[in-house]
C-alpha cells in the first residue's frame, strides 16, 4: 500500500474514533468547529484557489443562510423545511452575489465582494426588526433527524463529520472533473479558454454557486452549533478569517484549507482564552504569512520536505559509487 492511502486510512480512523480518545467535551466541540469551518474554507477555496477569484464577502453569504434559518425557526417552521428554505435563500443570494461580482475579475472582484459583504453586515446590524440588530437571534433547539437528537456534542460531531467527508469527496471529484479542469483554465488563461469555445463567465458563475453551496452547508452547521447569530458572523473579520484559512493552508490544494481551518480555529480558541487581542494577532498573522510563506503552509512544508529528501538521497548516491 502506498503512503498516501495509509495516511488517509489513519486520518479517517482518527476522525471516526475522535470522541473516544479526545480529552473532554470542550475539545470535541472545538473539533466540530474545525470541521464546519473546514467546509466553509473548502468552499471559498473553489473561488480563491481554483478560479483565481478572491472573495472578501463570503461571510455575507454565510450570514444570509444563518439569518434565514434563524428567522424561519423562530417563525415556527420545522427543522427540515427551514433548512431547505434557508438553503434555497442562500443559493439565490449566491446567484445575485455572483452575477454582480463577476462583472469584474481580479482586484475589481475583491472590491465588489467586499462592498456587498459590508452592505450585508450593515443590514444585519441596522435592520433591527428583522435581524435583532446587535442582540442577534437565538435558537432554542437542534434538530433530531430519525430520532437521533443532535443536542449532544457527540451526535453533533458525527453529523458534522459526515457533512465534512461528503464535502471532501465532492471536492476531490470536482478537482478531477472536466469542470474543475476548465475552471483552472479560466484562472490561468481566460482568453485562450474563450478562444477554445468555453463560456468563461458561465464556468465562473457555476464555480461561485458550488462555493456558495458549501458555504450554505457550513452556515447551517454553524447556526446549529452556536444556536446564536449576530452581525459579527457577517463582519469583514469573519470573511478575512476564512480567507486566512485558505491562504495560510495553501490555496488550490485539498488539504490546505482543512489544515488552515484547524490552525485558525485553534489559535482563535486558545488565544482568546488568554488575551483579548485576537484581531491584532489575526492581522499580524495575515501580514506574516503573505510576506514569509505566500504559497501557504501545506505546499510550503511539502516543498521543504521534498528538498530535504532530495538532499538525503543525493548524499546517499554520492556515497555509493
Amino acid at each position: 500500500m502506498n503512503a498516501r492511502f495509509a495516511a488517509l486510512t489513519v486520518a479517517l480512523a482518527a476522525l471516526a474514533t475522535l470522541p473516544f480518545w479526545m480529552i473532554g467535551v470542550y475539545y470535541l466541540n472545538v473539533s466540530s468547529q474545525i470541521l464546519f469551518y473546514a467546509i466553509f474554507a473548502l468552499g471559498l477555496n473553489v473561488l480563491v484557489g481554483y478560479a483565481g477569484l478572491v472573495s472578501l464577502g463570503h461571510a455575507g453569504l454565510f450570514g444570509i443562510v444563518a439569518y434565514a434559518l434563524g428567522f424561519l425557526l423562530s417563525d415556527g417552521w420545522g427543522h427540515p423545511a427551514a433548512i431547505a428554505m434557508a438553503m434555497a435563500i442562500g443559493l439565490a443570494g449566491t446567484a445575485v452575489f455572483a452575477a454582480l461580482s463577476l462583472r469584474a475579475t481580479g482586484i475589481g472582484f475583491i472590491m465588489i465582494t467586499l462592498a456587498i459583504g459590508e452592505i450585508l453586515w450593515g443590514l444585519a446590524y441596522r435592520w433591527i426588526s428583522f435581524t435583532g440588530g446587535d442582540n442577534g437571534i437565538s435558537l432554542h433547539s437542534r434538530p433530531a433527524p430519525f430520532g437521533y437528537s443532535m443536542a449532544s456534542p457527540y451526535t453533533f460531531y458525527y453529523t458534522t463529520l459526515i457533512m465534512f467527508l461528503l464535502t471532501v469527496v465532492a471536492m476531490a471529484i470536482f478537482v478531477r472533473s472536466p469542470f474543475g479542469a476548465a475552471l483552472r483554465g479560466t484562472r490561468d488563461q481566460p482568453r485562450r479558454m474563450t478562444a477554445l469555445g468555453y463560456h468563461v463567465w458561465a464556468i465562473r458563475f457555476w464555480a461561485c454557486m458550488f462555493s456558495g453551496l458549501l458555504t450554505c452547508v457550513a452556515g447551517i452547521l454553524f447556526v446549529y452549533y452556536t444556536q446564536f447569530i449576530s452581525p459579527q458572523t457577517v463582519a469583514l473579520t469573519s470573511s478575512a478569517e476564512v480567507l486566512l484559512m485558505v491562504i495560510s493552508g495553501g490555496p488550490a490544494t485539498l488539504l490546505g484549507p482543512i489544515v488552515g481551518a484547524g490552525l485558525v480555529v485553534l489559535v482563535k480558541t486558545v488565544v482568546s482564552g488568554f488575551i483579548e487581542r485576537w484581531n491584532f494577532l489575526l492581522g499580524a498573522i495575515f501580514v506574516a504569512i503573505v510576506i514569509l510563506m505566500p504559497e501557504g503552509l501545506v505546499p510550503g512544508t511539502l516543498r521543504l520536505w521534498r528538498l530535504f529528501w532530495r538532499k538525503q538521497r543525493g548524499a546517499r548516491t554520492e556515497a555509493q559509487p
Partner: protein, 290 residues
C-alpha cells in the same frame, strides 16, 4: 421644507468628507492598482490622533487646526512607511498587497481599541465655528458649512496638483501607463510612496475634520471603508471628478436613506452600485483598466 433643506446641507457636508476620504483611495487604486483596505482605518487613526492633540495631551493642548495638521502628517508618514516597508516588498503581486493592507487594518483597529478604549471620543467644534448661520426659517451649523468650503478648496487644490503641476503630470502618466512612464524616466516607485502618503494624509484629515460631527468610536473604520469603496465603484477609479460626483451622490443617498429608511440606510447604498455595475461596470467617469 426646512427639513429637506437641512437634510440637503447635511448630505453635501457628508459628501465633502467622503470626497476627502475617497480621492486618496481612488488615486492609490488608479496608480498602484491596490484597493487600500487600510483607508477606513487611516480615517479613524487620523481622527483619534487629532482628537488626542485637540483635547490635550500631557499638558500640551493644540488648536484644533494645528491638531488636524499634526494628525495628517503623522498618518501620512505612517502611510509612506507602510508602502516603503511592506507593500514595496510585494511588487506586482496585487493579491498579496490587498491582504497585507487588510491585515494592517485589523491591527490598527485593535491598536486604537487598546489605546483609546471602547467609548466614543467627542471632539469639540473648533472655536469660531460653533454657532449657526440663519437663512430664512432654517438654521445651519456653521461648522457643517465650513466642511463644505474645506472640501471644495481641497478639490480645487487636488485638481490643480494633478492637472497643472509637473508632479501631477507624472502621476497621471503613472496611472495611464506605468511601464511607459518608467521608460521616459519617471521614477514610478517614488510616485507610489508620494501618492500613498498623500492618500493617507487626506484620509486622516477627513477623519479629524469630520470628528466634531461624527465623533470617534471603534468601528468608525468599518463604517467608512465601504462608503469609500462604493464611491469609487460608482465614480470610477483613478478619476478625481468621479470621486467628487460619487461622493456627493453617496452623501445624498446615505443621508436621505438614514432620515427616511433608518433601518435600511446601508442597504440603499446597494442600489446605485447595482445600477452602475450593470450598466457601466467601469464607473461613471472611469476608464477600463486592463
Amino acid at each position: 421644507m426646512t427639513f429637506w433643506l437641512v437634510l440637503t446641507v447635511n448630505s453635501i457636508t457628508f459628501g465633502g468628507l467622503l470626497f476627502l476620504l475617497s480621492a486618496g483611495f481612488s488615486l492609490i487604486f488608479g496608480l498602484m492598482r491596490i484597493p487600500n483596505l487600510t483607508h477606513g482605518s487611516l480615517f479613524m487613526l487620523g481622527a483619534y490622533v487629532g482628537a488626542t492633540f485637540a483635547g490635550g495631551l500631557i499638558g500640551l493642548q493644540l488648536n484644533f487646526w494645528l491638531a488636524a495638521v499634526v494628525a495628517t502628517l503623522t498618518v501620512a508618514a505612517f502611510g509612506a512607511a507602510t508602502e516603503r516597508l511592506l507593500l514595496r516588498r510585494l511588487p506586482g503581486n496585487q493579491l498579496a498587497q490587498v491582504l497585507v493592507t487588510l491585515g494592517i487594518s485589523f491591527m490598527i483597529a485593535d491598536f486604537c481599541l487598546m489605546l483609546w478604549g471602547g467609548d466614543p471620543v467627542n471632539v469639540l467644534t473648533p472655536e469660531g465655528f460653533a454657532g449657526f448661520v440663519r437663512a430664512g426659517p432654517a438654521a445651519f451649523p456653521t461648522y457643517r458649512l465650513a466642511i463644505i468650503v474645506i472640501a471644495v478648496i481641497f478639490a480645487a487644490g487636488l485638481w490643480f496638483l494633478l492637472d497643472r503641476t509637473r508632479l501631477g503630470a507624472m502621476i497621471r502618466a503613472g496611472v495611464d501607463d506605468p511601464d511607459m512612464a518608467r521608460v521616459v524616466g519617471i521614477r514610478v516607485s517614488k510616485l507610489f510612496t508620494i501618492v500613498f502618503a498623500l492618500g493617507a494624509g487626506l484620509a486622516a484629515f477627513a477623519g479629524i475634520v469630520g470628528a466634531p460631527m461624527l465623533s470617534v468610536y471603534p468601528g468608525l473604520d468599518q463604517d467608512m471603508l465601504p462608503l469609500a469603496l462604493v464611491v469609487v465603484i460608482l465614480g470610477g477609479t483613478g478619476s478625481l471628478l468621479g470621486s467628487f460626483v460619487g461622493s456627493i451622490l453617496i452623501g445624498f443617498i446615505y443621508n436621505f436613506g438614514q432620515a427616511l429608511l433608518p433601518e435600511l440606510a446601508y442597504f440603499v447604498l446597494f442600489l446605485p452600485m447595482l445600477l452602475v455595475l450593470i450598466l457601466r461596470p467601469q464607473g461613471l467617469f472611469g476608464r477600463i483598466i486592463a
